[in-house]
Amino acid sequence: MWNLLQIELFKIFKKPRTYLAFAIIAAFIFLIQLGLYVNGRDWMMFMLGSLGETMNIEYDKLVNGYAVCYFVLNLLLVHVPILVALVAGDVVSGEASMGTLRLLASKPVSRTQIILAKYAAIAVYVFALLLWIAVISLAVSIAVFGRNDLVVAKTTGLQLIESGDVLWRYFCAFGFAFIAMMVVAAISLLLSTLSENSIGPIVATVGIIIVCTLISEMEIPLYQQYIKPYLFTTYMLGWKGFFYIGSTADGETIKGSIQYLPGIVKSLAALLLYIAALVAASVYIFRKKIFYPKIIL
């Protein structure tokens, strides 16, 4: 299994498109950091809206490394699934189109092991991608903008999390984001086992994410009640739950608390269920797959 994983990792990290994702993320985060370095105060004033009419706010202190990272994650984690699909959608179908999949299936390893090794290799890629995001969005932002309390804007109001109470929330959020991205990877893997070319699974995965996200966010009762609870995109935003701090009846925040812990646990459980179901389906389909010899004219 370890050898299989090494081979799959070699295949993934040999492709230039794998590094494209890292470059895109670096460029994107750099642009956000540059923008906030120049106009961070204006951005924060926009974020806090009319609050400035009632309160004296230290906007410059609010634009700190933690806030920049939170902003980056809000924008980026919606798009990272596309970068995950770019690699995960290719792992089986790419080999099918090249004709190497039949050769691989003829090796003395089970087809289940092949699929699991491929999924494990994708997990390494996703982990590396999120680690990359963490390093440049969190570590670099802290180095450039410094640390201070984090202000989190919700539709119901604002909350302030003390500087010393933030870092562990990021670790948990990135951990949660990893699970969420692995659902996307599992969808791509499943579609990849069904296809003979790479483009189809990649586009289909992106399409599914877009449609599901739109339905999740539409305030239409029919979708909210009957469809939203079954969509994986509903649970992918669970990482934000780590930044919703608990408070007393007076609105005083409780250090180290999470407002909706059961909601996060439920989301995590739903995502893990999705992963199990999708990977099992991928294994089943791959095991039943008949490999015809590829005839190149």
Partner: protein, 230 residues
Amino acid sequence: MKTIMLILAGFQFSPITQAQDIQLLVQKVKEKINLVNDYDAKGTMKTNVTFLKVPVAAVNVYFKKPNLLKIKNEKGISFIPKGAVNINMNNVLNSGNYSVLDAGNDKIGNTAVRVVKLLPEADTGDVILSTLYIDAVNQVILKTKTTTRDNGTYELEMSYGKYIAYGLPDKIIFTFNTKDYKMPKGVTFDFDDGTKKRTGGEKLKNQKGKMEISMSSYSINKGIADSVFK
């Protein structure tokens, strides 16, 4: 006949005497407050506003005559209500010329207080009317209500301890009007855990907010640089 004349004279002159009393009382409170040229107070600040969730903050309150006041959270960030400058009585009593009106007696808790209304003579300032509830025995202000032109009404409640000789409170509760808060559209998707319906785009209407500062110590008349207030 002589007694009746004396009683009538007493009735005739009592409003003037009362007015003089109240002027004197305000003057005495002012004198007490004027003993303080500057101070640096350490304390904790608790903010209670419907749409804000903030931790209790360790703050430093700096004051310097005539009307400089700054509340600083040295370690983190605090949202300070506009109008918080009025938590210093010096800023209220030395803010220009005003007419002093006696508004009778009242009680705050078990303490009997004199109610005084201050009407600014200039009609261009933000403050329209200030009502002071003065503890005549200790010559300190226990409560104020300030009506402003643009920022609604502020209320201030103060309790005193070891710095009562300077008219400096141990605890201040500042009540103020909060305006609508509306989060900008499209900034972020909220995480919905299913336990609470979202209030997307919904405005949080005008309500009262409260800021409570408990002072642990004052450093009085030691001098404070102007740069602190920038």
